[in-house]
Symmetry: C2
Subunit: 242 residues, 2 copies
Amino acid sequence: MPNPSAAMLVIGDEILSGRTRDANMYHLAGRLTEHGIDLCEVRVIGDAPERIAETVRTLSSQYDHVFTSGGIGPTHDDMTADAVALAFDTPIDIRADAREILAQHYAASGRELNAARLRMARIPEGALLIDNPISAAPGFSLGNVHVMAGVPAIFAAMVASVLPGLTGGQPLISRTLRIERGEGDIAAILGALASDFDDLSMGSYPFQNDGVHGTNIVIRGTDPDQIERAAARLEEQIAKMS
Amino acid sequence: MPNPSAAMLVIGDEILSGRTRDANMYHLAGRLTEHGIDLCEVRVIGDAPERIAETVRTLSSQYDHVFTSGGIGPTHDDMTADAVALAFDTPIDIRADAREILAQHYAASGRELNAARLRMARIPEGALLIDNPISAAPGFSLGNVHVMAGVPAIFAAMVASVLPGLTGGQPLISRTLRIERGEGDIAAILGALASDFDDLSMGSYPFQNDGVHGTNIVIRGTDPDQIERAAARLEEQIAKMS
């Protein structure tokens, strides 16, 4: 059975303008791979509600899971919750349980739960809350769409809350071989190996460190024995070259 | 007149599996903003030729420019050039000028220009070459699609070659105000300001440094005077709060 598939949607003008370097894609990619969910596509778009809604709808229909990052804070540019509700034509309002979480958090820190902060208790009907152990305001899962914060520490904490509840497949295992030859020198060997082991994926990544010019070959798959056999054959053939 | 629009397409299984942290999106976003081209969307997809072709076609029809990163090396997993040719139903073959660039480079370094490396001279008919001052193998522009390498140093060099030839609009200017108040405390003021200055975009980014909890407000636009007026009004209103 193939692994479940996933897409990620990163939301925020600050990423597209180059002000902020996104950190969440790299984090999520690693966690999904460990969990046996295949990340197939990532999209980054700006803070525009209709655009967010349309993209969520598209990705939700194409993949088993959609993970979003960004746009769930208290300010006017935080539009993700309403956009996700719009995507599924679901009513959205301040929900009692989310409001209570915020009320306790702000009471404890002596800050005011004002109208702006209350926006963070707007949750689409039927959604499940995602725990936020850092700043309280929850994320949520609506159907197969998991809506999380953009601040990297909070995003990571929310991913840790959501993933254990999702059925994973076989974790992708990878083995990296460092080969001190140019990509072009080993391309023929590698291409033949890739077609002999068609359940595995073989990636080739040139490097140049301290004047040494070489290639990292990454063999990925779910069967450790098969990866071992492919790695052994590659090493044998590289050894024969010299 | 609005600025030209752009999309970026990052190609590579290694990004989606979490092995490699992409650096090219952040780089391109900053350079485009300086040049007055609006980056509207980024997509990340794997090394699958039909998927690449389909996505290139979609983005090329929706935006003034498309910039791709990755998949133009000598190995079997480098599929971008053929996929872009496929996207536009354009013939592709080894081109004499690209071959000559590679021949000189490999002759100078005493390495062999073998069949695998010759793949890097495959250029779709009618494309313009993009200079690669680092490892010679060129990128290319076909119509509004600019095909560049994934290795960050080479990607950056290719962006520097391409951008001066593209008509830009007004560079986006941004001004950041550091405010030592929570996002929720200033959200109402900020929302009102954003609707009064609807040519500007206002982003709100919470921070927590050395125990100080606050918000960076980023005001973006193309008219420096307007940005100055909005910043002055925001500062005045924040001062009144205390």
